[in-house]
Every structure is written in C-alpha cells, then in structure tokens.
Homo-oligomer: 315 residues x 4
Amino acid sequence: MKLTTHQKQDIKNQQSQQNQTKRVTAPELENILYEAIPALDHGFVRVVDYMGNDTSIVQSARVSYGKGTKQVSTDQGLIKYLMRHWHSTPFEMCEIKYHIKLPIFIARQWIRHRTANVNEYSARYSILDKEFYLPSQKNLAAQSTSNRQGRGDILKGEQASEVLKLLKNDAERTYENYETMLNERFDGSTIDENKKGLARELARMNLTLNTYTQWYWKTDLLNLMNFLRLRADSHAQYEIRVYADIMLDTLKRWVPITYDAFLDYRVGSTEISSKGLKIVKNLIRGKNVDYEKSGLSKREWNELMTTLGQEDKLL
Amino acid sequence: MKLTTHQKQDIKNQQSQQNQTKRVTAPELENILYEAIPALDHGFVRVVDYMGNDTSIVQSARVSYGKGTKQVSTDQGLIKYLMRHWHSTPFEMCEIKYHIKLPIFIARQWIRHRTANVNEYSARYSILDKEFYLPSQKNLAAQSTSNRQGRGDILKGEQASEVLKLLKNDAERTYENYETMLNERFDGSTIDENKKGLARELARMNLTLNTYTQWYWKTDLLNLMNFLRLRADSHAQYEIRVYADIMLDTLKRWVPITYDAFLDYRVGSTEISSKGLKIVKNLIRGKNVDYEKSGLSKREWNELMTTLGQEDKLL
Amino acid sequence: MKLTTHQKQDIKNQQSQQNQTKRVTAPELENILYEAIPALDHGFVRVVDYMGNDTSIVQSARVSYGKGTKQVSTDQGLIKYLMRHWHSTPFEMCEIKYHIKLPIFIARQWIRHRTANVNEYSARYSILDKEFYLPSQKNLAAQSTSNRQGRGDILKGEQASEVLKLLKNDAERTYENYETMLNERFDGSTIDENKKGLARELARMNLTLNTYTQWYWKTDLLNLMNFLRLRADSHAQYEIRVYADIMLDTLKRWVPITYDAFLDYRVGSTEISSKGLKIVKNLIRGKNVDYEKSGLSKREWNELMTTLGQEDKLL
Amino acid sequence: MKLTTHQKQDIKNQQSQQNQTKRVTAPELENILYEAIPALDHGFVRVVDYMGNDTSIVQSARVSYGKGTKQVSTDQGLIKYLMRHWHSTPFEMCEIKYHIKLPIFIARQWIRHRTANVNEYSARYSILDKEFYLPSQKNLAAQSTSNRQGRGDILKGEQASEVLKLLKNDAERTYENYETMLNERFDGSTIDENKKGLARELARMNLTLNTYTQWYWKTDLLNLMNFLRLRADSHAQYEIRVYADIMLDTLKRWVPITYDAFLDYRVGSTEISSKGLKIVKNLIRGKNVDYEKSGLSKREWNELMTTLGQEDKLL
C-alpha cells in the first residue's frame, strides 16, 4: 500500500482533530481512527466514523423491555442474552463507516450485501489509479478438485511464475491502452494535444478485474456481523477474508463485549438439523448410529461427524 | 410532558458527559443533545446520537467523483448540486438516532417508513405508562367534506366538549381495566395478592390507540429527509407534523447547508407533469390555455393553477 | 369470521377465473387461491397471488453456479444443499401475496418485519369494521412468573369471566363512542343530520388495540421463511402463531420441497454455541461435564441439556 | 446475440407451456415471455416471470382506502391519482423477474439499485462465456468537455479504428490467458492433462470489464420504475439505456395504464425548486426576471430556461 503525500497529509489532519462531544465514544477505536490499515498488495481499510458503543446496545434493549430488563443485571449478561436469542434490533443501533480500497472482483462480491450505504469512486468521472492486485505466490492455489468453489494445492515453480507473469503483463498492458484511449495518463497529463480522448465511461471497460477501486462503506453493527460471519469464514475467498479479518479487529476495538458474544454464538457456533440432533442424542446415550438410517446425505453425515469430533465415523 | 425524577437525572448525566473524539461534530446539535423537546401533550423528541455533519456528505461525494469534483469549489455548491440532481447516496453517509414518545396511532403511521432501525417499548414485557393523547380543542377538526383523508372546520361548543369527554373517559376506563386484568397498578404495586394477573401480552389489547408508547428510531440523513418531506407537509396528519416540525429544527442544527438545500429543492419544490409543462410554457408565451384541451383532470388543473398563482383560472 | 355477501361474491368471482399462462404454477396452492381461511374469531388469511414454485429456486441457482451445479443431480438435493448452507438468494426468487385480517396489536408485531410490501386499510379514509378480538377462555393465560414475555397458567372461573367481560364491554363502548364522534354508524348511516362528525383520523384513536384491521402483505419466499421461523415458534405470542400456522400450510402447498428442507434445517434445527459444542463432544465421549467449568449461564446450561435430552442434568 | 442450441431449446420448452391459473395475467407480456430480446452485441433481456397487472394496483389501493376510494370511479383515474401523489405502496404489489445478459461494467452500475433480488452467474464455480462488449463505431464517443460524466463528439477515422482494435485485442488476449491459467478452454476441454489449473476464483481477475455476465434480477413495479426513470434518462450511460429502453417496452406490455401515468408524471415531468417557481410565476405574469436576483446558479438558470422553452434567456 502506497499513499500519496496528499493522502498522508489528509489522514494526519483528520487524526489531529480533538473535538468535544457529549456522545459516547469507543476509546480503542479512536486510537486507530482514520488510519490506513494495509490489505493485500495495494488495498487498505480505514475506519472513518462510528456511532455508539456497547452501552448503546444495552440502552436500546432496556428501552424495549422497560422494567422487564431489570432481571438481567450486567451489560455483558444482557448482550449475551440478545445475541443468543437472535434479538437483533438493538445491534442495529450502532453504525460504522469504512473507507476501503479493494480489487474490483472483490468489490463485486462485497456489494451483494445490500443493507449498507456505499459511495464508490466513479470511473465515469475520474481516471482509476494504476494499481492492480497480484497474488503473492503462496496464494496461487489450484482449483479444488472436491469443492466447486474452493482452492486446492498451491501452484509451484514454473507454472506459478507463468501465472504471475500473465496477470502482471495483462493488467499493465490493458491499463496502458486505457491511457491511450483516454489520451491521458493517470497523472493527468495529456498524451497528444491534437486528439480527443475516448469517454471515460467507455475506456474503463478495458481494465481487468484486479484493478483497484475504493469506496466509503457504512453499515450498522448487525449487518456488519452478518458480513463478517460470512466473509471471515474459512469458506470465503481468501482475498475478501483479508479485509474481513482486519474488520474483525476493528469490531473488537469498537464493541468488545459484543465481539466476545459474536465469537461464541455466531462465528464458533454450529447449527444442527432436526435429523442431526437425533443422532447427537443417540451418540450421547452411547447408542449405535447408522448412516443408512440417518436420513442424512453422505456429505451431511461427514460434516456432522467432523463437527462432533467423531472422525472415526467418517464415510 | 412530565418526566420522572429518574428520567431527569438520566438526561442530566448524559448531558454532563464531555468526551474527546477525533470524529467530526455538529456543535449546534450537541447543544440540545439528549434534551427532551415536548411534543403534543405527553410526547417528546430527543436526539440521542448522531454521526457525521455537512462535511461528511462532501467528503463522500469527493471520493465518488474523484478529481472530477474539483470543478465544484465550495461545500455549499456541491451539496446543492447533489440535492438538485438526486444524487442521493452521499446523504446516506450521515446517521441520527432519536428517542421518541408518541401516541400509538401515530406510531402506526410512522413505522411505515421501513428504512430505519427501531427499538420500541414492549408491552409484552412491561406495563405501558398511564398517558394518552387528548387533542387540544383547537385541533378537534371535523372530517373534511372535500378531502377523504383531511380535516375541515374546528368543532365547537358542546360537541367539542362531548368529544373530549368521551376520549378522556374511554382512555381512563380502559386503562383502569388494563390494570385490573393485570392485577397490577402502573406503579408496579399488586392489586390483589391472591390473584394472578392476565399476561401482559394479552391485557394490552384493551388499551386505546391514543395511549403513548416510545422508541429509539435511527435512520440515515437521506431517509430522514424522505420522512420529513412527507410528514412535515401540510397534507400530513397534524399530530405527526408536530414531531416532524421539531425534527426539522434538529436537521437545521445538524447539517445547516443540507437543510437549506432541502428546503429549496424538496420541501418548497413542485413537480410538474409533462402535460402540465405544456400549459406552463403556453402561459409564459401569453397564449390562452384551455382546460378542455389540457388532458388534465379538473383536480389536476386546479392544483396546477394554484401552484402557479393563477387562481383566477380555477374551475 | 363473517364475510359480507359482497365479499363472498368477490371471492367467488376471483376463484372462477380460468386464465392461460406460460408461467409455472403451484397446483396445490391454486386449489385454495383467494379462499378466506379463518384465523382467531374474526380474522382470516387469503393467498391472493404468487410467483414461482420449487423449480424457480432450482432454475436461479443453476444460473448462478452454471455448469458447476451439474454435480447435484436432483431438484430436492439442490434445494436441501441451498438451505443447509444458507445460500439464501435463490429463495428470494419466489414471491407471495396475502390478504390478512388481524387485530391491531398483532399487526404491530407483524409490521416489524420490514422486508415486505404492505397496503393497510386506512382509518384516515374509511371507518373500521365493528369487529374486535376476544380470546377464547382456554387462551386467557396468566403472566408467566418465569418468563417476562410469556404466558403461564390459564385463568379460571370468575376471574376469567370478569376479564372477558371487561374486554368485550370496553371494545363495544369505545367503538360506539367512535361512531358518536364520527356522527356516523359503521354501516355508513349518519347519526345526526345537523352535526358534523369528528375527522376520521382523530376519532380512530378511541379504538382499542384488539380492533381488527386488514392488509395486503407481499413478501419473497426467503423473508416469508424468516417470518415463519420466528412467528410459528413456540415462543411467539399465541395470536400471531395462529396466522403463522395457517401460512405454514400455504407454504407446503406452494413449495413442498422447500417446505421439507425448511422444517429440517430451520424450524427443527438447533444452534449450539462454541462453548456448548465442547460440552456436547465431552458427553459423546462419555466424559463428565461440569456446569461450573462450562462457561455457560445457568439458563444456557438448562436450555442445552433440554435440547440434548439430558433432563437429569438440569440445575 | 448468439444462443446455443441448448438455450434455444430451453426457451422453446418454456414458451410451449400452457398452464391454467386463477391468477390475473398480462396477455401482452405473455406473448413475449421467455423470449431473448437482443441488447448490445451479445446481451439480452428476457422476462421469465411476473405477478399481477394493472388491476392488482387498483385492488390494493381499494383495500387501503376502503369505501374512501369509491369517488374515483375508473381504474385509470385511480392509477393516475396514485402516481401523481406519490402513493407508492400499491405499485409494490406487482413483481417481475428478468434474465439479463450484460457486460460487467454495466452490471456494476445496475447492482447499485439495492431493492432487488439477484442471482448472478458465479465465476467462482464456472467459466465465463467468451463474449465481450465492443461498441459499434457510432457509439465511440469522446469525453465531453462540458460534462464530467458525459460523452461528446463521436471519434472518427483512424482513432476510432485504433480504439476498437485495442478493445478487441485486449479482451481476446486476456481471455486466452484466462483459459491458460485455468488450464481449460471455455468449451470445457482440458489444455494440458499434466497440469492443474489455477482456481477459478483467482483466474477471473484477468478478465476485462467488458466481459459478459448474466443474472436473474427480480424487483417490484415501484422499484422497476425508479430504475427506469434513472436509466432510461438521457443522462444515463448509453449502454445501460439500451437495456432500460427494452424494459420500458416490457413495462408497457405488462401494465399499460401505469406505463402511461409513468410517462406523464415521472419520465416527462419536471421538478422546479422554490426559487425557480418564483421565476415561473413572474414569467407568467409577464414581468421581467433577472438572473442576478434569482438566487440560482448559472447552471440552474440555464436548465430552467431550457425547460421552459425560454432559450433566448440563456446565459
């Protein structure tokens, strides 16, 4: 990640603000506010604003339940209760805003989370930065043979070098031709004073999907957790997981009590189907369980046995 | 509006907070933060949190348009441009949270604005306050004879007194019977130690729709303006307009530049249909305009002539 | 439930339509289309339109995954896979529209499901029907002593009669006074020709929360299942569960394969936290488990033991 | 647009369905149901399902307003009234589903309309088709000099040929290298049996933004009109307008009465700000109007004068 001098100065200015407020604050998050945390080779994650903290969730819940909440004595107890019972609305009462720089093919996955506010850099108005994502060699995975959307072994040696070379050359060439068509370099200089450039909204179509874009992305705490649950998961594509992992850390700084409950009841939790539950009960009672009679598919059976630590029963 | 001693102390505590933050602030809004602004006879509006100010809108727009925004030199110019051209996403980048106390029949209108986060006091958990809305006499309007959903003349004399008496008596009696069914008074005391009370989730059905409820209501600036445009309008029901008018004032304190643009391009603006526009053009050219040939309904014609200050052409 | 002659005729007319279409259909749902299925004492559920069936989900999923879906050979297998892995978007591709008549206090719970389209009968425009919900005696439950939002034992004898009398009298009296204020009876007749009536938007505030309202409610299949999962659950209030149970039956008629997967993976499933999972594994291995070391609250412990059929370990 | 034999057969099968239904139908839309209407060089628009027609809007509105709607006698009158007064919820009661094939850079604009359901072809699972958008020469516009996001004159001669050559070559080369990295041709054949291919989720990043993707896109009538208002507008990018124009025609076939009202009150309508309205009134009264005193920006002034047909007053 390389910030321009101008960007660095902007961040410094933002970080040097010291305003008084009657609002609640999240001191650990304030510590990294505006900071550009590197992600992949040219991307970053910046927290640029937030609203509320753990106490805001508690406060909203207590308005909802009125005197009825008095039984739950501590903030932590109440937040765990809300998380466990999927009482989701109090978590919507906190809001966070990020500035993210990310490759376009990842942006296309990300944008499918609809309950968020977005302002993306517009390539109709302005020229995109000359930056594209190139995986490090250890992330150059082959297509998985068992999982249609997964990765298998790491490519090695000559094939790996070949892939990296293709990616790099194609990104650079298409970007250069983008400049040629625009008749303008990424630094704003004109190439040929006697020519008009192609409209930006057209020229951009020549760029490859690993070109970086950036956006402001704002969401509430509930939807942030929905995003992180999916995108910090081991089945998520590595490149989006890098962002989700950084954001998990910002979650911890922002709402530490909620973060703990989130790890216990969402990230580390397991859902067991009604058929699966019958098997669990039989296992606890020490009875034999039989795949044939389970009503589960082979894949379900194996997933369940892995979850339960019964690897000797794998099919 | 009557706050309990406990509520007053809560507000005092919240207002006495002085936190440091690197986030942007809205000083005029900070001045009234947490304050309970009276609405109707027992309701209130409180701003309890916010995120961003006018500069946040500008900042998001500049990320979107990149170098392309340099042409628009001032923040005010840019905000006006965004408002005029319905570039709505930058306005979603600010967020506000209210604590509102309001009658249930108004809450039912309000909740139809779906793009908001809500935590309402739950009458399944807790007993509702013994407070109900009674209109002041000057708001006791008769059904309009021309407008199916509007109000006409003010009721007077005996009929007005009769209406107020009915409303008051019915609200009080149904509330008392609510307490009887619950076997519990609103102050928490038990009525008959030898009886069980009816479940709260059932007893509540006996209350009238003017009973007050309360909620936390959080939304972004764009959706707040959508709400205010409809609910601060002269066609909105008076009782919700009272709330909208108070919130318009909080809008002004929060984002004064946006507020001005909102008044000019939304609240005070007029939409003219393609058929209406032909008539406007003819009027400007000094030509005769003819209802029969206009393609407008009588109602549309009259609305247009009123808008244009051509009352002499009303049908 | 009592339909007017006019309503009955309307339904008959709708049901007698026989249109040709190239769209997919759901024959079992067609059989009950437009029918008013009774709910509570005066309410009903009617399916008035729908789009898609089980094959629509499969079709959308196959567009998403392309050739990648070939491995999953049957429609049933694919739908189960989607449900199990929370691949939710294909379920959004079906849509259903209901006409519902329900008490206002239930409508207030229902409307909190925001991802739906709603047209409610407007009491600003028109007079509400003279119908209010009165629970049958077997549903007159006392407040639960263990659960803040639940029901306990059934009220009996004199107290039950007293409650029913209060509910009935208050609803009838407030409705009569509603008519008096409107100067109009529910059948449209004027009471006193020399008087104006109070505006409808005001008079309605005198009605009790068990008055019936009605609406068109349209949602997609995913959000319908989210609604049913919460509202057909044993923790939901009885009065909304009555509606949810009827809608579960319409779900079965509409998308039978999805319905089966929904029962197995959602309705009958259990979520176990990361701390809970450790205990499950130890139980399966025949080890002792200890509440003190579990990290669970007493309530969580008891919920888990009940789920696992280990009632002897309840605290 | 070139459909495979398999796709053509699929469409034929779908179109040959003749099902009986009690639902309302839209005969003109049935006529083109499932048909692939060509868009750009390789894209298409297909209507694959729908729910409701003009009468559904009327029916929902009449449920809302109850007896209050009797005054408006015709369906057309009621739909015009709803459109004019922004009573939007009845329009949400109809739903439509499209199958669209479109270039990725257009898909990125399109997806910003969040209130829709989407299933996109996944390049994590499957290989994208070897098809990319190449503008026809008459659409090769230069960047506008007056409008930051617009198009100016058409490029000509050698420069045009050069641009087309660059676009074509880059798309073809990056696609070929995509195949090389995957070790698989777009027809599914393996390139080198001794090699593993790069994971699909990685290889796709090498493709250019004019590569075609496809999706199912489902939305309600209100949000379809919001989409069309923006995307069929002359300020929209040409490439998305091509799709919007085709969809406008499907709108007309589906809900002809709503379509007419949409053209009159939305597409052809004009919004005039409060400052602008003062000027309009003065023009009608034959008074002089003065830019200096208008409070309008130069751009606003010119837009207003153009709208009013007062081109002689342009600055």
